[in-house]
Symmetry: D2
Subunit: 346 residues, 4 copies
């Protein structure tokens, strides 16, 4: 008997989570909910996912363009075990009230505030605390990335201080009405929200961050600086990254000199949609000076938190009590299982 998962919102995150759920043996796509009568939402029909409209009005429009619509919002939730909500901000807040009323467990995504669920989730950093909570928030692409990297960095030694500069992509590839073109936009008002967001899952880490937005659609890039309370070796860092699931090392010396090359690598690996579920760290960016380490990483904002969404289902519904059990299942389903990783560290 597999877990019935409804994905509310078939956009950038939702469509990927649906496909990821579909690759898992212990869960199924029970329904997709969306509003748009578009070719991209029509892909749900091509995949064979039961498609539902947010309203009767939306259903009419979707049927008019030839889409196969099974019903509306409430129909999708019938018999569902859990909902992954990937709707736009504001909409999610309203949806959550419905899930609460109907008593359906749910997962929201990183654009939402921690307070909405009172629980935030990172498979590598705090899986056990989320077991059985019935509702949680999978942290954002940037936060998920930082949680993975700091899981690896903390395994090496005690961290006294961490500082991150995030160079954000301006918009996802399909958001063509969004800029900037040619400009760089700083996040003003002091520290960016990313470091405090990491603290929702790793509370004891002293971390702060700044951020800018650039004219790019490929990945976010993180420049990371960590001060340990003692000297560490470069090898210990590299070994820790190799041991940590969902982190890969790439190398400028082997031609992966920028984030376009990183994405090209995953195109060549025939990943669906050129997705990179892993966080990529440039091995030749890792540098140690005494107790201080620096490195540069990148994350694929569209897909990096997708595995965590799958794990969150298992945690929230107590399907797996131990993180490694879920992470291994997820990663095998997604084809990203790493032989050299040490899943027992989770």
């Amino acid at each position: 008997m597999t877990t019935k998962v409804v994905v509310n919102g078939y956009g950038v995150v939702g469509k990927r989570v649906a496909d990821a759920v579909n690759c898992q043996e212990d869960m199924d796509v029970h329904g997709i909910i969306d509003i748009a009568p578009t070719s991209l939402v029509g892909i749900a029909n091509e995949r064979g996912y039961p498609l539902f409209a947010v309203s009767d009005e939306a259903r009419k429009k979707m049927i008019d363009v030839g889409m196969d619509v099974k019903g509306v919002f409430e129909d999708a939730l019938q018999d569902a075990d859990i909902v992954i909500d990937t709707a736009p901000k504001g909409i999610t807040t309203k949806n959550v009230q419905i899930y609460e009323k109907m008593g359906i467990p749910y997962i929201v995504n990183g654009g939402e505030k921690h307070a909405l669920t009172g629980s935030s989730f990172s498979a590598l950093a705090n899986y056990r605390e989320t077991v059985g909570v019935k509702k949680t928030r999978v942290v954002s692409c940037n936060t998920t990335t930082l949680c993975r990297i700091f899981t690896a960095l903390k395994a090496v030694s005690t961290i006294d201080d961490a500082f991150i500069s995030i160079v954000r992509r301006g918009a996802d590839p399909v958001r063509t009405s969004s800029g900037p073109i040619n400009a760089i936009i700083p996040v003003l008002g002091g520290y960016s929200h990313h470091a405090p967001d990491v603290n929702t899952v790793i509370p004891d880490l002293k971390i702060s961050s700044l951020a800018v937005k650039t004219s790019s659609t490929l990945t976010h890039v993180h420049m990371i600086r960590v001060k340990y309370n003692n000297e560490v070796s470069r090898d210990s860092l590299i070994n820790s990254f190799k041991a940590t699931p969902r982190i890969i090392l790439v190398s400028g010396q082997k031609g992966i000199t920028d984030n376009a090359q990183v994405i090209e690598l995953f195109r060549d690996k025939l990943r669906p949609r050129n997705d990179m579920f892993e966080t990529a760290i440039w091995e030749d960016s890792i540098f140690i000076e005494g107790d201080t380490a620096v490195l540069i990483a990148c994350c694929h904002m569209e897909s990096v938190a997708v595995p965590e969404n799958v794990d969150a289902i298992r945690a929230v519904l107590s399907m797996e009590k131990e993180p490694q059990n879920s992470v291994i299942k997820t990663d095998k389903g997604l084809g990203i299982f790493q032989e050299e990783a040490d899943y027992s560290i989770l």
Copy 2:
């Protein structure tokens, strides 16, 4: 007994042609030749293609980074039935002398001049003329696209005059040293080379073109204007596009409002590397005023000529005498066979 294909150059075009050959039942990847000790060339090993180095020096460097190299240039050509050369300009010219000396049939790609082979190839426009020629040039991404579109446009009525404005992408995604950033670069010196290049495969078409280069990596975009010698109907054009293989219609009304949405559609269709082997025409750009038709199309510069490379193998080696036989095989192998297309028109 399958045809043994060597792909010389495992870059943007070469790696795609290799994968396309690998999907065909009547041919095999006999060898890949490259020079670079990089992660991207290393993908050839992951795919299981026999990998050869251009020289002993290159082989050494490739082995040093852990690549599995079977031999050098000449080793790859042993027992090969044909070479697809996708090396950079200049290099190809030298390579061709070797193929000639060894008596191996070969195919070069669109960056080269027609004069290099004395034969240019478009599967839809002039397949029969290329049967058995032993060597040909598959025309460029833009020319392949125009040959497809004009195959469909000519089927409607007699064309008196055609004019194309091409908005080129500035560089392929991985060519990150190339610009422009933010600028628009006109092709100066009168008409661009694209229209004359179409005439190498469709000699009797009165066509001219202008072009600019932009800060973009997704697709080329073509604004096309055709004057027929009589009035035509919009439906006749649309029907002709639907009947023509390797052309698809997309629609702004269904949300495919720009070339990022087109590429997203092919990401969602899980095409390898988000490739679009077809030429996409915006259905809602097609407009008729009397004897004049306009339309806007886009082509994926990295992959659009890949099917034609496969067909060119069959033509050059007389493996198939009739274009539809090859095109259907190619398109089935690539997963782009269109039920609604009329392959008999070829």
Copy 3:
């Protein structure tokens, strides 16, 4: 006694028109109206222009950040001879009702429809028809550019047919929330509005156009193709362009190979804000084949229609009856008077 000009809206167009008015001997900036308490609007104070707020609320906010505000909307219009409205669409429609009620002549800009004023203006194409009309619309940057170019092209011989492909910049430099990043967006639905807009000032020209939007902030680029009813010489075109005011020829052979180089030329000429009030045509893009001519031009969307706004003031208020008188004054004031141009052709 100089003409008192109010500029409503101190944004991309308004601030330039104000400076242009300020350079003319027969007119003065009587007032600037805006809503935003920003550093950029604060420049009006640095220039010494009387600044007014759209409302009491706006005035309060502007004063709070230290701006010198003389009054509100209605105060600015007291004693004004004419208003140039450069407010956002929608706002302008409301403003026009106020100007009508107060009986103040006014000029709107190219984003508005012809129907709003029933009159459209191009200094080179239809100045005389606009003398004394009390209200008009200065056509958009692209249309102004085309009116200039076709004034020159028509002077050579009779045009049978004209077709334009416009490659638009995605957004002005300061509109950093607008995209696209990396994508190309076609204007769907058949011909673009540009050609019909040209016909509002040059009614008898057979012209059509297509357009795309790109990730760029520098200029629009026009690919133009004209069919004459007889053979023409390249020299006759070049001479006509040289004779026409507000058109300049640039040359790829002299290093002006793209629109970034064009803008750099005007930066080096120390034009305010790197503005290019002229339309630039690449001399080495001009090509003739029998009765057909092609060329590539670019226009600086932020500033190209600024001289026309100044001329429109003189036309609308009957300050000058003949276009050359106004154009020469405007161009001398702006420092763009061309010795080699033949103003008598207007």
Copy 4:
């Protein structure tokens, strides 16, 4: 008797230094040397600067396109008091040998290594050490910016540790062959060269840096984090920035929310070529937590080191012994003298 300055290279930096020299009362542009027969180099003629070609061959080409060329390389150096070399790397190295042989004092720019002259120059940080040295290197745009900011930051209290993340523009606006388009390129190999370069003029500062390159042409952006050895107040930082020449504060709350708005501000101020000789710091990015301060700044790579080039002339030739004397002259000449700055702190 004014100092005779030759500017070798009339490109991005050279043409600006020439104009800056031209604005100073105690120096004159004695000659410009360049190689290119282009419209942009032709601007030197429009300005009235004596123009020289690098060679007889170059002179011929320049004369062929109508440029006024006074002579060749050696002619320009006759009677010159000093040369500012802004030639491309490699060329400068050769040029320096000629200057040495002829005994002419010279200044090279930031692309060169410290070792080439054994002296590096920042007007605010080490003017006095450079007085009379006969040759120096004006540090790069990024280093000049950091030297200014750290002059201000050091004035507040003792700095224990500084870390900078630099988001570089991909290319200057005119370098349209350079990318990246859409990608982000990390500087690999550990710390970037920027921090060590700061140490060539401020040796005792503990500073390190990382950097990435983006698809942008406007400015570099610096994310800066400083740890003091005690608590500091935000006001003390702001006051120090206000007191420091060549630093300005901009504010997102007043609409200057990104670097395009910063540049727009300088376009509106009618700065030549929209140049920003000052370093801009976002006031609302400045944030203090205990002993740690963060801030975000941007510098206009094309022009920021221009004032320093002027000062370097006075230092190298002992024209002024005290930095404030030179800085005040330079800034008045350039129109960037700040009433509120405290030049006596230099």
